[in-house]
Symmetry: C2
Subunit: 423 residues, 2 copies
């Protein structure tokens, strides 16, 4: 054994690649899938590596990956310098991990120091990992304190979301000074990323809450099929897609002139997070007719009850024998852009199951994530309407909430997440 050496994930991947040659000879080729060497490599999936640098952060218009690990942090230091240092450290680590290399790759690891990378993703590919960082309102001001000299730069729209009817928020699952959204096709890769970032933050931040998700419920690309939520229905049919750049520009990215105090946020966005528990058991005892009436679409293919197929525009005026075919309190009607002044948002939610409650009920639902240019215009009015009028609310309860300003992307290797804010 040598006292120092380099632990290279690339090197390990190289070895895996050699093993994969035999697989390639069998006609499937490419990367090893997860831990399997004998099974076909999903080349379009696990090989995916998304660039870390760019005008916008990745993980927003990126085609929604299959798994999520979302974490919220409280900053525990009073030092602006320590906070900035952590953001620089996080930036470097995020660049490495999203490229599929371990944290600190290239630097020799001493046997007498903790490893720079915790190791559980060694041998796994990037798996489409993206890391998206956000800043909560309390980073700018908390209990009247201007903690880091940022108060004057707080965007006007960055305030704790209002209380909506029927909210039952758990403070231990809400808000936070910072957030990180990790998305990947392999949960082990997403968990590894959050764990390593949390580890680096020791002494500067503490994890406040976290959420795992699977089965993305909102496709963000027209090339993705619409996935289903745990009500069993397709979710996100009318979602804003990356292939609609004009509307992405209009509804997702903050523009230069949006907020004079927060020009640093131009090219960024706002992230709305809502943990929405579903009352699974009563839902499962509801008739299919009732379910479809509440949703306003049929379950089989997701077509609006006014007719057509999944992507047919709903006709909210079309009358049946007993009134409009899409009920006045149907979810699809109240949530549809045409009923919300044409406002759209880019949703990027995930299903979750966190075991069972003390009553033996499934603790499950939808972890709603949306990216919007302005939450005051795009989210709050719609959620106000949904929470008071949507018939589906009988089966839903919001148990967690957060609003974060998502800074623009990091342009170059010398930059860091939030550089425009701290400049």
């Amino acid at each position: 054994m040598t006292p120092d050496r380099s632990l290279s994930r690339r090197r390990l991947l190289g070895a895996a690649g050699a093993g994969a040659l035999a697989v390639g000879a069998a006609g499937v080729g490419g990367f090893a899938y997860g831990h399997e060497t004998d099974e076909a490599p999903p080349t379009g999936v696990d090989k995916a590596t998304y660039p870390f640098h760019g005008p916008h952060q990745a993980g927003i218009t990126t085609p929604a990956q299959d798994r999520l690990h979302f974490a919220s942090f409280d900053v525990t230091t009073d030092s602006r310098e320590e906070l900035v240092a952590l953001l620089r450290t996080w930036t470097a680590a995020a660049r490495e991990m999203t490229a599929g290399t371990p944290v600190g790759d290239g630097a020799p690891t001493s046997y007498d120091a903790p490893p720079t990378d915790t190791g559980e993703a060694l041998g796994l590919s990037a798996s489409g990992l993206t890391l998206t960082f956000g800043f909560g309102p309390t980073l700018f001001e908390k209990d009247g304190q201007d903690r880091f000299g940022l108060r004057d730069r707080r965007p006007a729209a960055l305030r704790e979301l209002p209380h909506f009817p029927a909210d039952n928020l758990d403070p231990a699952r809400s808000n936070g000074d910072l957030c990180i959204q990790a998305c990947a096709h392999d949960p082990q890769v997403a968990v590894h990323a959050i764990r390593n970032l949390a580890r680096m933050g020791f002494g500067t931040v503490a994890m406040r809450w976290a959420q795992l998700g699977f089965g993305r419920t909102s496709s963000t690309s027209t090339r993705q099929a619409t996935a289903r939520n745990l009500l069993g229905f397709k979710d996100g049919t009318a979602n804003l897609k990356a292939e609609d750049p004009d509307n992405v520009e209009k509804f997702v990215w903050v523009q230069e002139d949006d907020d004079a105090a927060a020009s640093w946020l131009a090219g960024g966005s706002y992230l709305v997070a809502r943990r929405i528990n579903m009352h699974i058991e009563p839902w499962d005892r509801t008739s299919l007719r009732e379910q479809e009436t509440l949703v306003g679409r049929n379950r089989d293919e997701g077509a609006p009850l006014s007719g057509g197929t999944e992507f047919t525009q709903p006709d909210f005026d079309l009358q049946g024998r007993d009134g409009p075919l899409i009920a006045v309190d149907a979810h699809v009607r109240l949530a549809h852009p045409t009923q919300n002044k044409g406002v759209k948002m880019l949703r990027r939610g995930y299903n979750f199951t966190d075991g069972s409650t003390a009553l033996g009920r499934l603790d499950a639902g939808l972890f709603f994530i949306a990216f919007v240019r302005d939450p005051v215009e795009q989210y709050i009015p719609m959620q106000t309407r949904l929470s008071s009028q949507d018939a589906l609310m009988e089966y839903l309860q919001h148990t967690g909430s957060g609003l974060f300003a998502v800074p623009p992307g990091v342009g170059s290797k010398s930059g860091f997440v939030g550089e425009t804010l701290f400049a």
Copy 2:
């Protein structure tokens, strides 16, 4: 809209198959991967369908799938007939879901009744789903009561596991009358299966606890690479593999003559479940040298510290300057078959991350599952030794526990899970 119709997952899959043809033309062919239609289908993964019928239950020697949803149930009825009826219902549903078809497929669904299948797996393939059922000690006798006339048939080895040193078991995460292990490559498929089985059990059973897992940590086939646990080390190098049928017969399957009272269990096994929390944060601050010393293998490739590569047999006698190269209290030594009278077991564990604790620590670790012919000979002595002598225990805490008798497989369509017990 017609008042009745058949909701066919096969039909939906047929439609997805048509969409996949374009993918096939691009050279990758086969099923759509998860929700993606534009990404390559991992033909060896998601297309996998394991037969439900056979002499043994699936999900034991089946190559370990990537995701787990494990659930434990309490029986809430006093009626043996109701219990048997549920086992028959579960059997039929398990046969359908493991084939990739929805529950109740083929039967027309009335609009005025709840759907027979909850729907969230519509359009997804079987994803290698297996469902493995087990019976806990309390099914046979609880508080001195012979609840279902099964007391005389209880296997002698089926008793609550003893308290091991350093156990800190949460009763809300331990034991149960019945268990179901759902394994699949897509978590949505595993969650869908448990949810539907729980739903059918309403009024007969109540979910006691559940555990989600990912990143299988013990390969059960020589064709699978060894995966890593959340300590960052390869886990399960020396695991019993399906390609070693003599030892599988010897160490996994209960034999006719093992227990005169429980001949019904022949062809079955015992499932040991242990929720093992890892103290992630202190581990991450430990030097690589210390980590490798505690484990007894190097982290990079999993080779024993006595030298060689991953599958080199450890040399526990080989001396270094300061004593044996593999320390006397190293995990690999205490857990190795050669140090346990040659006893092996078939492990099938998963990593888990359940958010963070009230102290802001990751609630994460290993959900240990092992299948053994006799827990009294194969698990209890080893765990007794590990829990008192293993240096790694400083970083581990057992927080959940369960022991279940796993009946043999269902031989034919007319049979049901547990038929030999209830015959």
